[in-house]
Amino acid sequence: MAESAKANAHPTADEDPNRRDFIHIAALSVAGVGAAATAWPFIDQMNPSGDTLALASIEQDISKIAVGQQMVIKWRGKPVFIRHRTPAEIAAAVKDDHADMRDPASDASRTKPGQQQWLIVIGVCTHLGCVPNFGTGDYGGWFCPCHGSVYDTSGRIRKGPAPLNLQLPDYQFTGPTQVKIG
């Protein structure tokens, strides 16, 4: 580095490794940034497209779902379970609020106040994405046929490899028997 001042005073290509290094580093940096900037659109094109993102909310009439039954509707390509729970199923879920769980949550936190009979969850197993089967498994909630995850009547994970409870979509009641999801 001691030489650099002297070298800068007499800039010739042969004698001056520092200036040459600088050009290499500068050129490579510009090329690197350029390559990254070029690569990004080619990577990002695989993310959801505008029309996929625009899939907004859906309204659903739930008056036809009998007590003890569920309806499966499609929202953003995924199944959503709308389950009309029996008093016994609600009681079983509430009773287990303080049981030892992998992803602890109270039953009340998973339903809307005053609408305890309606459980609305995304029907995608939090393990590897299969659709759990209604009313099967040790807790009477759902059983996932793929690798055996068991959910209770609140959609909470109780057994098997799934790490989380069935997710809750954003939804609100727009009438006594009408919900808007999304």
């Binding site: 990577i43 499609k74 199944p79 994405g129 046929p145 793929c146 790490p163």
Partner: protein
Amino acid sequence: MSGHSTYEPKTAFERWLDTRLPILRLANDTALDFPTPKNLNYWWTFGGILAICLVVQIVTGIVLAMHYVANSALAFNSVEHIMRDVNHGWMIRYIHANGASMFFLAVYVHIARGLYYGSYKAPREVLWLLGCVIYLLMMATAFMGYVLPWGQMSYYGAVVITNLFSAFDKIIPGVGTAITTWLWGGFAVDNATLNRFFSLHYLLPFMIAGVVGLHIWALHVPGNNNPVGVEVKSKADTVPFHPYYTVKDAFAILVFFIPFAWFVFFAPEALGHADNQVPANPLATPIHIVPEWYFLPFYAILRAVPDKLFGVLLMFSAIAMLFALPWLDTSKIKSMRYRPTARWFFGFFILATLGLGWCGGKLPDDVVIPFGRDAVSGEAVGFTVVMMSRVLAAYYFAYFLLVMPLLGLFEKTLPVPDSISTPVLTKGGAAMPSGAAAAPEKKG
């Protein structure tokens, strides 16, 4: 192998071409005159069989792509159209679908050959790694191909495999979800996913062909390993590839075509799943989903673990073991012919892998060995498929991580011949081949 060429241009045209593009020289030196150990057995024919499998998949695949439509509303029906209406379409599709299975059958034999005869050891590590890369690309290709008919198994296969990446949410929250959304091009497996899988399913086989080129290049630097596992010492140890191995390989390929044709013409759906005759339904998963048979051992390892992230990592590391093997095995002796103890461990390794494959096809809670009946429900209780998978997976990993490193240090081996041409030792003999061949001029 001395890299020197034996090619002699015979005509004026060949001389002219040779000084401009020595492509005939390359063909001669790699496929005709290439000096090959004279003792290769039929396990060595699977390389040629694999090359043919790749060609079969590419030819039938390009034909299928002329009639197939990669759209979630049309894909299933376009495959039915191939099966019912396209001239010979049923046969071409069945060759492609069963061809994938035959391809995997051949690659598993090929890998097992390498494991037994130590083909991954110096100086063939790069050759082995390239083979592992081909295997990975094959798995990706077959997985995406299986999604294309857009039946129930196609759909849920795609769901489960892409969701493997969501496990990374546990390491950095959000990253796993970002990856799956990116892979899907949406919030679930859907049309965007199918369309890109078709694009990649078309591309990857050609990438495989490229890596096969590197694999053969890396083979032709050190030359073939052989059943004795002793490197070639002299010309007496070799024969030219043509006609000796062109004929042997061709014969093996024809024999291989017999079960292949049997599947295509007599049991075309034997390896498939009835549920894939049902169009994809994102709202209901079939009762029993299983992957194609060639993925079952890995599937069993995934399910053996109750934790999502750990299960996924363990499954990926099962494949990573193959990549690491050249540096895990401490024995200098290549062929297990001279490693009697290793042979036992190897035999159990094959059994464990087959056993894992069996477990992968069963339900996790199925009882393998019943101990009695549950007092309340009356169902059989006992040793379940998950428990068995755990035992077998433990052996699978122990083979790579304990047996391979330790056995080489402690085992008692048999005397290794000095060269390929002297497989029978006169006396005691050196445990390791010495530098020079004992009698290079001697014929085997």
